[in-house]
Amino acid sequence: MRDDVPLIEARGLTKRFGSFVAVDGIDVAVRRGEAFGFLGPNGAGKSSTMRMIGCVSPVSGGTLRILGMDPATDGPRIRARLGVVPQEDTLDMELTVRENLLIYGRYFGLSRALIRQRANDLLDFVQLTDRAGDQVEPLSGGMKRRLTIARSLVNEPDILLLDEPTTGLDPQARHALWDRLFRLKQQGVTLVLTTHYMDEAEQLCDRLVVMDGGRVVAEGSPRDLIDRHSTREVLELRFGPGEHEDMAGKVEGLAQRIEVLPDRLLLYTDNGDRSLSEVQARGLTPTSALVRRSSLEDVFLRLTGRTLVD
């Protein structure tokens, strides 16, 4: 396969469940070695897309090529070259950490000797070497996720698919996981991930699509999307409960755009500090004020009028 051919190419990709359209004709191309993200709220169609790419869910419409092959006819051959980290763990709780790698490697037809050898490296990589002989059940959520990642690498996949890899983990476990994924990325592994965390997308993705209601609403690098769809800075103002709607009128004209959220006002501006002093000059006294840089969260809010995590 030539290097300039995308590893994953979707055109008009659609997934229907009865009359419900989960994925509504999306176009996506993932190149070798990049970290590509699907960012969107729950129900945006990310997981359905991921399952079609993973060749476990049939395509309802459009075309999909993975590693140059068609999932409808070459499912087993494609899956042999994918690594999958599903949203819900599918580890065997009664087997040990090492046995989970062994049995999973056998599904790929790898020899026991080869798996044993790879298991040592993989357990080392996900920092589970000292738990190798332990049963999986009592491991923490973060450890289970790391084991799932190790397991997904046992066949040395061309593409690693991660569906909401850090959902439900505490902040420390998330950072540990990001660190591992970042290393994989540096090793040149092609990562495809879904997330509803904008910080995850910003940290890991070279390029991403923002999804909402089964459609792609924007595409680009995190920086590029922020530059295109938001201002440099955001001024967050909090007033008393129920006052935000009124206050929105009073700060009119102080920012390029104002968003009213239930608990705060967002003022999109290129200079947050200057806007804050202008707010204060109008005699307004927010209970708290915060100037920050624009994030993908702001991009999403701009594009869909909704927040990512409700």
């Binding site: 049939p58 042999a80 994918l82 009664e94 049995i103 056998r106 599904y107 790929f108």
Partner: protein, 261 residues
């Protein structure tokens, strides 16, 4: 057996390394207890009334092959209910398999081969205990093993199809209460079906268990005959085969519907 089927079978065999001891104990204890209590204990009373209606053999010799078939049914049913639901919902083993080169057919076939192994090994032990009780009188008895295995698979495959269609495990109670237990009691295991009122006899004859019981009994007692142009063993084989093969096709359909969405 296709290569991929072997890969999914290997998972079940591997997991068995944790639990095999328990199953060996119950494989030996179950026939020991049943044959002692029902065959030797109750049998002593039954035999006093004459054994003409029991093909002229002792009650122990009468029920032993029936219990062999019934045991195959029980093992098959257990292995095809909770483990299937667990592999779909709790442990999600099937999902893990399907993310790899394995497909639905491999997943179904691997699990069925595993159930066949469980039935087969349990029945080998059962036959061993039976011969220790001195109730294996014919060389034909060797064929009772594949017969019991087929009986088990006639249950395993369709029940697996059912299990894969269930959201909750409560449906299994229905199988146990309205399928397993009545069949166990009334399909010729403990007394000939001819003892039942004429009206309900046909019900017993359509159960797969009766065919399994009768087949195993004819083989173990060496009473295989083709009297009056009716080849009973062949009818039993064909009937059980239909359930097993039909069940496999249904299981594939049911698994696909559940796992490939």
């Amino acid at each position: 057996m296709a290569a991929f089927t072997g890969r999914s079978l290997e998972y079940w065999l591997y997991s068995y390394r944790r639990t095999w001891r328990g199953t060996v104990v119950s494989s030996v204890l179950t026939p020991l207890l049943y044959l002692t209590a029902m065959g030797v204990g109750l049998g002593a009373l039954v035999d006093r009334g004459g054994t003409a209606r029991l093909h002229g053999v002792s009650y122990l010799a009468f029920i032993a092959p029936g219990l062999l078939a019934a045991t195959a049914m029980q093992v098959a049913t257990f292995e095809s209910t909770y483990p299937v639901m667990g592999a779909i919902k709790w442990q999600r083993t099937y999902h893990a398999m399907l993310a790899t080169p394995l497909g639905v057919r491999d997943v179904v076939a691997g699990h069925l081969w595993w159930v066949a192994f469980r039935i087969g090994s349990t029945c080998v032990v059962y036959l061993g205990v039976m011969s220790a009780f001195g109730v294996v009188s014919s060389p034909w008895a060797v064929l009772a093993l594949p017969a019991a295995l087929l009986t088990g698979m006639a249950f395993a495959a369709p029940i697996m199809a059912f299990a894969a269609s269930q959201e909750r495990d409560s449906g299994f109670n229905g199988i146990f209460r309205f399928g397993l237990i009545p069949m166990f009691l009334f399909s010729g295991t403990f007394f000939p079906v001819s003892q039942l009122p004429a009206l309900v006899r046909p019900l017993a004859y359509v159960t797969p268990l009766w065919h399994g019981v009768d087949l195993c009994r004819e083989l173990v007692l060496g009473t295989v005959t083709t009297s009056g142009g009716v080849n009973r063993p062949l009818i039993h084989l064909a009937y059980l085969g239909v359930w097993a093969v039909g069940g496999v096709l249904l299981a594939r359909l049911s698994f696909r519907r559940r796992l490939v969405v």
